[in-house]
Symmetry: D2
Subunit: 308 residues, 4 copies
């Protein structure tokens, strides 16, 4: 069993990246956010994921984030880093930088912008694997990269020990279940759901854990959900999830004026600001920022969810 | 009228980027390729576009390409540079580097990986415009970025003089025609088609020119097509286009074994290698490389098109 | 509470439609299939759904199916009928015919072929509702009709008592959960999943029941799954579901030679033929028919699932 | 050469279907509309196409339309009939009815609602061809049926003389050109564009003619466009097309309040009503009807286009 497989499970929030008014990394806020997560009992930290607005950060800013995260987490839980970029050579640069920074594993998407098939996706993961020592998780997120890592592709990569697991943000729970069943053959295979809304169901069918963006806002809620599920108390898990489902509606507050990306990133950051964890609700450009009226709606939702 | 608008028209091939066996820029081949294009009479050069495999190049490699292109073109025709990346801050870095390198204009896509709407797309172009002095062309390529720059968005940006024109790789010729009609209000607006296959039709309905990937392989053919169209000889333009249409079938040679990205990039490079312009048919990773049997098919197609 | 809401729950298989070699309804096989389902303890029958190949049947054949189903079920369980067609007027004709035939409820999709929005979808359901006495279930199946009945649309129709429930074949379990949560306001609202593969999870989060195409082949398995879930034995439910998940792989046997429609319909019918329930594995034209080698693979899968 | 191939060319409007306030066929209006088209010099009539709202008509209404059309056209130009339905058996019923009604050719889409591949599409056309004597045109309209008749599939069916031609409403002009080039091998192959907006370009690259929905409103304009193109006067053709392009904006008048289907059908019918050809702007249900303010916008557009 790999070191990662033996340690990684449970709630692994895809850490938001607090920004200053000048669109730089707000390291003080980031430190508070990490502390907030660890105190809530999260089981790992995933830095530089989609929720971490990795797509909006310069290489230098990415490095800053990883430095702060590795320093603050200080080995208490595993740290994963997203190495999001269009193709292999660029990703390998990010992967090496993350390895240098001291993270414990990498989360790698299929290529994007270019049009690839399953053969190119396999080649991609093999090349990244060959370039670094760190264990890899495949990040299946068709809504962002517009191709699917097919289960046959993924399981072949697992068989070759190129990847140790998957973060499934496909929204295709039926397909995800097929991966879970494949653990009959590959018992160490890590399978995390990227869903915020079906974590109880995912755990019931065997998921290793969850990587919920909303976990930034309410890590304690997701940790309770996970512990209830682990104890087989599905009723408690479901109730917790239903509360979080309703809280997740905050991602729609900005819709109409802006697209779902701005609206969701803005909602998480506004909620964290309202909870006193981070200093601003600034989002990466060209995303739009939630305004005062929208902020007020977020405040109401936090009250309803008993988070304020 | 902007300097760009007064000079830019006609055939502007999206320059392939020759690579060595070690996946580095093959500068000697690149120099030969540029000379080959200029000798054929192309009216501009578009470096670091999708066909230039910009998505596969490191920032350092992008800089090398621009240095070679600016030096070799030496002002004979305008040089455009693609600044392809996920979001605004990263693109502004590329834009400044390209400005430093001495190009004459930038070609900028909508954001990708993240999900944006038209408001975010507008904000994006305004921010890039504010960050550099160079004129911008909007690069509408939904197949790569998975959002459309809607005509209302684009024409508003034209009105604000944020963008000077468009490279339309949408495949939506009816929409493209709507942009052409808008030149009643914005006569300097540059509108280039990214199609390889409908250049005669695009010119007939008023396009400023074309940015055909296949132009790498047969720039003289596209220049003849353009000159025939400019002379109103639509029969000659059509015949040239039909020959090039048939030649374009080479992009399918690798299909099945690989996806369309690998297959198309590989076809152009293999054809250029067979024509003696570049040294290898190496493509950026994780794309797959055309093999000997596939190369033989390309050779046959070049014979049929009277290019060998 | 409507009569339907008080009676409808549990496993409601979307009945396959056995055909003769001449592509006519095989009424003897259909009678055996209905008896097979009832003996297994299914809680309802859904005739003329997508799995019932309603799209392939003439109006006369649809009438024959409903006559046989109503006669054979004879009130033992509720009978639902699909009224699948492109737009309102045509659907109202099917709805009236089904009402005449004596079914207990209708399952109605959004319009298709034409491009509609949510306003037209709402109008559509209101018009069908006004034309018949029977309760309606909305059939949300974007893969077939290529539009989504948005939750806001659906819940407004529930509020107006235009529809009594939903059959959710969207594959979007997170959205489905939102509908389930809305039952706080609409406790009689029926919400069935169309999934074959996540029935345990759907029941755990509160679904009224399931409409699994694979239920044709193994109704007893799905009934066991449902009873285990109702008893709160999630471990047993999960095991049953995992066996059925593996069995469901039969729908891929024909893939490659044919598309998923032919392959899935053919797999269900071939399995029913092998189990001795129906006489042929003929599928509606232009679907392709599974051949001897493919039939042998189905046989193996039935053995593995302990159904032969 | 088939009889159809020798006669069919030019402008073949997809005839709108006038409705009464009670949603029945308004035969008087239909007669006037046909006379209006013939007087304008159209070269054929396509009844029961998408613009004819075939998806909204009962079988009886379809029969009424064909009876009126065949009687009024009276052999002056060829009459084509759309036989739109989900799958083969249902389409064969429509095809036989149309044959009985006396039309000259049938326009047949790929199956829809169900998921088919190219093998099933081929089988479908072969079965329809075997069932009737009339020549078939393949109707490639992915926006409605959500699958593409691939060029390889289509040309094989042409080779087998299963289909005589294509009505291309795919919006993929580059692919359409490939079909036109295939006429080197199949000179009788009829290839019509379904575009309203690129008819000059389509004719320039070799199309047999056009089937423009907007032709209902301004058949004389499209006939002039066609005659100019046939005379090689591309400048005149382009000017006519540009005027019609601007007129086509009327299809957007209802957008927002309704979807594009309602908006486009309503625009054509409202324009025909304003021009005094048909009695109402009623559209098939559940489409929404243009209101007085929207009608006023259509009136303005007709003035601008010099049609009022």
């Amino acid at each position: 069993m790999s070191v990662l497989a033996s340690r990684l499970h449970g709630i692994v929030p895809p850490l938001s990246t607090p920004l200053t008014e000048e669109f730089e990394i707000d390291t003080k806020s980031l430190e508070r956010l990490i502390a907030f997560q660890l105190e809530a009992g999260v089981h790992g930290i995933f830095a530089l994921g989609s929720t971490g607005e990795v797509a909006f950060l310069s290489d230098k800013q990415r490095a800053t984030v990883l430095d702060v995260v590795v320093r603050c987490v200080a080995g208490q839980v595993p740290v994963l880093a997203g190495t999001i970029d269009m193709t292999t050579a660029r990703i390998i640069e990010h992967a090496r930088a993350a390895e240098q920074a001291g993270v414990n594993g990498l989360v790698v998407t299929a290529p994007f912008y270019t049009r690839v098939g399953q053969a190119e996706i396999s080649e991609h993961f093999r090349l990244v694997h060959a370039a670094v020592e760190l264990p890899l998780l495949a990040y299946d997120i068709p809504v962002a990269v517009h191709s699917k890592i097919e289960p046959g592709t993924l399981l072949q990569l697992v068989k070759e020990q190129v990847v140790q697991g998957v973060k499934d943000s496909s929204g295709d729970e039926a397909n995800f279940r097929g991966l879970l069943l494949a653990r009959e053959s590959y018992p160490d295979f890590l399978a995390f759901t990227g869903s915020e809304l079906l974590v109880d169901a995912a755990l019931m069918i065997g998921a290793s854990g969850a990587v919920p963006g909303l976990g930034n806002v309410d890590p304690a809620g997701y940790v309770r959900l996970y512990e209830a599920a682990r104890a087989g108390d599905w009723q408690a898990a479901r109730q917790e999830q239903e509360r979080l489902y309703r809280l997740f509606e905050i991602i729609k507050v900005g819709l109409g004026r802006m697209a779902i990306g701005s609206s969701a990133m803005g909602a998480f950051k506004t909620a964290l600001q309202l909870r006193g964890i981070i200093a601003t609700n600034v989002v990466g450009r060209p995303q739009l920022r939630l305004n005062a009226a929208e902020t007020e709606q977020i405040r109401q939702a936090l009250h309803t969810a008993q988070l304020l």
